[in-house]
C-alpha cells in the first residue's frame, strides 16, 4: 500500500518540525452491512509508529473512528541528520513501512 510522507528535507538543529503522513487504506469499520444484511468484516490500521534514528518519537493507536486513508500529523525536534521510519500495523496481518531522510544544518 502506498504511503505519502512529508518531512522537511533540511532543518536547523533544534527546530520544531511537522511530520505529515497519509496512508492508503480502506479502514473498514466492521459496523457496516451489505444491502443483503451481511456484516462487512473489520479491516483497519491499528497503529502507526514513527522512529527517528531508531528511537520511537511518536506512536498512535487507531480505532474504526479514524477516517479511511489515515492522515496523521505530529511534531518533533530536529536533532541530527538521519532517517525517520514509519510502520503501520493493522488487521489481517497488515503491515507497511516507509521512511524519509532529513539533513540537519
Amino acid at each position: 500500500m502506498a504511503a505519502l510522507i512529508n518531512v522537511p528535507a533540511k532543518a536547523r538543529r533544534g527546530d520544531i518540525i511537522e511530520i505529515r503522513t497519509l496512508t492508503s487504506h480502506i479502514m473498514e469499520t466492521g459496523f457496516r452491512h451489505t444491502a443483503d444484511g451481511k456484516l462487512v468484516p473489520r479491516d483497519i490500521i491499528t497503529s502507526l509508529t514513527c522512529r527517528y534514528n531508531g528511537t520511537e518519537i511518536f506512536r498512535a493507536d487507531l480505532f474504526p473512528a479514524i477516517a479511511a486513508n489515515p492522515y496523521l500529523s505530529f511534531f518533533t525536534i530536529a536533532k541530527e541528520s538521519g532517517k525517520f521510519e514509519f510502520e503501520w500495523i493493522g488487521d489481517n496481518g497488515y503491515s507497511s513501512t516507509a521512511s524519509a531522510s532529513i539533513i540537519i544544518e
Binding site: I16, I17, T29, F31, R32, H33, T34, A35, V40, E56, I57, F58, R59, A60, D61, L62, F63, P64, A65, I66, A67, A68, P70, Y71, L72, S73, F74, F75, T76, I77, K79
Partner: protein, 155 residues
C-alpha cells in the same frame, strides 16, 4: 372474535404482564455516554480530570461525517520534565467510544496531533491529555453531523 386494535392491545398488555411478549429490541449500535465514561476511566483510572490546557479544533457543523478534520493541541512547554505524554480522543455516539490514542515524548517539541475522523451522529468529542506529572486535562466539543458515517450500507 374479530381482531380489533383494542383486542390486540389488551392481548399484548396481558402478555406483557406475563413477561413473554417477544419485544424486538434493536441492540444499540453506538457508544452511549456510559461507554464513553467507561472508555475514559479505562485510560485515566481513578485520577481526576481537570478542564483546561487542551484545545480541540474541529468544525462545529460537518456535512459529511466520513472525514472530519481534527486537531488536538495542548498548552505545554514540552521540556524534559514538563511535557505531554499522551493524548486520547473519545466520542459519545459512534459504535465504539475510542477515536485514537497518541503517544508523544519530551522531544516532540509541540504537543499537537492532527488527523481525520468519522462521526456517526451529532455528538460530543472529548480530548484528554496526560502530562508528564500524570495529571489529566480535558476538553469537549459538540459537533453537529448532517450525514452520518460508519453504519451506512455498503454498495
Amino acid at each position: 372474535m374479530p381482531t380489533t386494535r383494542r383486542h390486540f392491545l389488551s392481548l399484548a398488555g396481558g402478555v406483557t404482564v406475563a413477561g413473554t411478549l417477544p419485544i424486538v429490541t434493536l441492540r444499540p449500535l453506538r457508544a452511549t455516554p456510559a461507554m464513553l465514561t467507561a472508555a475514559i476511566r479505562n485510560v485515566v483510572g481513578e485520577a481526576s480530570i481537570r478542564s483546561g490546557k487542551v484545545k480541540l479544533d474541529i468544525p462545529p457543523l460537518v456535512e459529511n461525517g466520513n472525514t472530519v478534520p481534527m486537531t488536538v493541541s495542548v498548552a505545554s512547554p514540552m521540556t524534559a520534565d514538563d511535557y505531554v505524554k499522551s493524548i486520547h480522543v473519545f466520542n459519545e455516539k459512534n459504535p465504539q467510544p475510542n477515536i485514537g490514542n497518541f503517544y508523544l515524548t519530551s522531544s516532540s517539541g509541540r504537543a499537537q496531533v492532527s488527523t481525520r475522523i468519522r462521526l456517526a451522529d451529532t455528538q460530543k468529542v472529548v480530548a484528554i491529555a496526560r502530562l508528564s506529572d500524570d495529571t489529566f486535562w480535558q476538553v469537549a466539543a459538540d459537533i453537529v453531523v448532517t450525514l452520518a458515517a460508519c453504519t451506512e450500507e455498503m454498495n
